[in-house]
Amino acid sequence: MSTRTPSETASDQGPAERPDAAGEGSEANGSAYDARFRVWRGDVDGGDLRDFTVRVNDGEVVLDIIHRLQATQAPDLAVRWNCKAGKCGSCSAEINGRPRLMCMTRMSVFGRDDVITVTPLRAFPVVRDLVTDVGFNYEKAREVPSFVPPEDLGPGEYRMMQEDVDRSQEFRKCIECFLCQDTCHVVRDHEENKTAFAGPRFLMRVAELDMHPLDAAAASGLDRKSTAQEEHGLGYCNITKCCSEVCPEGIHITDNALIPLKERAVDRKYDPLVWLGNKIRRRPT
C-alpha cells in the first residue's frame, strides 16, 4: 500500500517542508501522527491512486491534509476549495468511496492506521487530480425556468407568511456542492441519462419554485408540476435516497422535495378527478 516513489520520499524531506507546518503542529503536538493517504492523481488521459504519508494534527479535516500535501509534497496537486467551513460547497470529493466535503470530514473519524483514499467525484468528467468538470450542473440549472414574479406586485409589496416560505427556504439552504448529483445512480452509473435527467439538486429547485408562495409560473402558462416529469426527468428518480444521505446541509431532498414533486405530478397526470376538473375548468395542465 505505502510503497512510495523515490521522488516523493525525497520531496517529503526536502527544503519545501515549511517551518510553519511544524509550528502549527506544535499547538497539538501530543496527538500529531502520520497518516497514510491514497490520492488520485491524473487527468482525462489517465491517472492512478498515489500513496502519501503525511502529518496530521489534532482537530484537522481532510482538506487540511490535502493542503499539507500541496505545500510539502505535491505543489501542483489540483483541488477546489473556498470557504473551508462547509458553506460554499467547493471541496466535494470522494473519501473512502463516499461523496463528502473535504472541509467537513474530520480526521478524527478515521483510525490512525486507516488508509484514507481521496478521489475526485466519479459522476463527472475529470479535469485534473481532485478537480472535476461540474458543467453538467450549470447546464441543468439553466434548464429550470426561473422564478416568475407576480405581475400585480411591485418591489416592497410582497407579503409572505413564514409558514409558507419554510419549505422553499429549506431547499435554498443548498450550497450546490453537487454531492447529490454525484451520488445519484441515475447519472453516476448511466452517463446516457444526463441529457434527460436534471438530478436531485435541480428537481429540488423545481420543487422550491413550485412551493414558492408567490411564484406566478402557473399564471404565465408554465406548469412546473408536469414539466418536472416531462422535461426534467422526475420519473428517473427511484427515490433510493442517496441524495438525502450525502447532503451536507441535511436537506431532506427525497422526502420534502422529490416525493412531494412526484405527488404533484400525479395530481396533474394520474389523478382522474383532478384531470376531469381541469378539463371542465379548462385550466392548463
Partner: protein
Amino acid sequence: MSQVERQQWDVVVVGAGGAGLRAAIEAREQGARTAVICKSLFGKAHTVMAEGGIAASMGNVNSGDNWQVHFRDTLRGGKFLNQWRMAELHAREAPDRVWELETWGALFDRTKDGRISQRNFGGHEYPRLAHVGDRTGLELIRTLQQKIVALQQEDKREFGNYEARLKVFQECTVTRVLKDESASGDGRVTGAFCYERESGRFFVIEAPSVVLATGGIGKSFKVTSNSWEYTGDGHALALLAGAPLLNMEFVQFHPTGMVWPPSVKGILVTESVRGDGGVLRNSEGKRFMFDYIPDVFKEKYAESEAEGDRWYEDPDHNRRPPELLPRDEVARAINAEVKAGRGSPHGGVFLDVSTRMPAEVIRRRLPSMYHQFKELADVDITAEAMEVGPTCHYVMGGIAVESDTAAARGVPGLFAAGEVAGGMHGSNRLGGNSLSDLLVFGRRAGLYAARHAAAPDAARSVDEAQVDTAAAEALRPFSAEGPRDGTVPENPYTLHQELQQTMNDLVGIIRREGEMAEALERLADLRQRARRAGVEGHRQFNPGWHLALDLRNMLLVSECVARAALERTESRGGHTREDHPGMNRDWRRVNLLCRLAEPADDSPTAGRPDVRAEPAAGSAAPVGGLAAAEPARGRIALTRVTTDPIRPDLLALFDKEELVKYLAEEELFE
C-alpha cells in the same frame, strides 16, 4: 504570443460575488454585453460566508427607522471618515435593493404580518438586517446567480444562445487591466488579460469598461475569515492600472472568529450570536465588555447587565448591551482581555449562548453556527460556550472611487464596487452594511460602466505589446530567475505563509511604529524572493502557479496597508496604534492615497534601494519622511488628501455635542 484569443464585450466584471453579480445584472439590463470573470465556480463567491443580514432601513420591525438613522449609524461606526456621499446613497437605496431581490425570488425570514423580518446588529440603532437564518449571504448569492440565469434564459429565447449578452467565465483570473497607453490616448481602459485556471490558457477580453469587484485582502493575514480568493487582486489591478487606493490602513478584525481547532482558526462566528443574546465572558466568568465602552458611546450602551438583558425584550426603554458595540471596539476588548491573561484555553474568550437561550431556540435561530461548531470543533453550543477571538475579516480601504458612479479615480473606464472599493465604510464597517454596500454600489457600478461603454468614443482594441508583456509576466514562475547564490527557487507556499505571519504579527490588530517599519523591511525582502518563486508541473489547474501569481497582488496590497498604517498617527476604527492610542480630530479629514511609485511594469529594479520613486501623480504632495525611508521604500507612494466637507443637511442629523467629538474645530465653524 499573438495567438492569445480575444473576445469583445462591452463590460467586464471581475469577480462574481454580490457586487460583481449585481453589477453584471445591471449592465446587462442596461443593454451592455457583459462578461463576468471569477476565480471560483459560479455561486461559490465569498459572499456566501456573510451570515447576519443585509442592512436596510425598511422599518418593518421598528417603524422609527429611516435612511437618515441608517446614515447616522454608518457614520458613527466609520468614525466620520466615511466618504459621506457614499454613506448617504447607501442608506437611501438599500431598501430598494433588498425589495428588488424578492422580485427575483429571494425568500427572507418574515415578520408576523408577512413582511421581511429584520434583526438587531452591532452599531445599528434599530433592528435593520434583512436575513435568512444565519445564511443570508448564501441567499444573496443564489438569488443573484438565479437572476443571471433568468437573464440568460431570456437571451436564449431571443437569440438562441444563453450567453449572447451575459456570460460567466468561471475559474478564470485577471492578471492585468489593459489600458490605452498610446501617446494620443487618455489612459482609458481597453480590456483585461486573463487566464483559465483549468487549462492555463490565456485570453484577452477587449472591453471599454472594467468593473472590479474582487473583494478583500484577508489572505495576506494568517488568522482570517477570508477564503483563498481574497488576495487583493482588484486592489492590485487598480494600482497597476494607475488608480489610487484609499485609506488602506483600515482593516477590520472581526471580534469573534473560531480559535480552535487550528485548522479552522479564523472562521467566523456570526455577530447574530451576540445580536440574539450571546454574551462575552473572560476566564473569570465576567462579562467584561461593560469595562470597554468608549466615551463616545457611553450614552448609547447599557451600564449594567440587568439593563442590557432587558434590552432584548424592550429596546425602546433600555440601552443595548455593550457586546453589540461596533466590531473594532469588541475586537480590541477581546485582545486586551487575552493579553491580560484572562483568556480561554486556546487564546480567545468565551462566547456563550448556552446559558441564555433554550437549546431548541439556539438550533432554530443559529442553525449554521450550531453545525459549524458541532462538525468542525465538536462543540455543542447549546451546552457549552464557544471560544472566540479576533480574525481579519474585511478591509475598509480600497480603490478610491467617485461616490455616485463607482468610477475609479484617474482611470476612465475602470469601476469598482463592494469590498474592493474604499470610502463607504470609513474607518470601520458595521455588520450588515457590506451586503447592502454590494447591492447599492454593485448596481451603480454596472449602470455607469454600461453607460461608459455605450459612449460613442469607447475604446475597443487592445495593444499587442501589452498582451505580450502580460503573458510573459504570468509565465515567469515557470522559469523562475536563476538565484545568484545557487539556492533552489522559492516555494510560493512558504512565501505566502511568511507574508501572512508578517502581516499578522506586525501590522495586525494593535500596531506599533517599530513593528510596521520592520514589516516594510520584511515585505521588501519577500518581494525580492517572490521574484524567484518557481512552480513545478504545467499550466493545467496548477495551484502552485496560481499562488505565485497572486503573491504579486498580496505583496502590493500588504505594502499599502503597512505604509498607510505607519503614516496615520492616531487610532480610529480598524486602525489601532499603541503609540497613538487616541482618536485625533485633525486626522478626520485626512485620506491616505496609495499609488504605484514606479512604472506599472514589474521591472526587476522593483524594491531596490538605489531606484528612487517618481513623485506620485495627483493633486496633493507626496508624503516624504518615513514612507521614503531606506531600505523599506518599496513600490508604493503615499499622498495625503483632504476630504470634502460633509454636506450641512447631513451634518444636521447629529447633535452638536456628538460632532464635537469627531470634527476638527475649523470644520465645526464652517
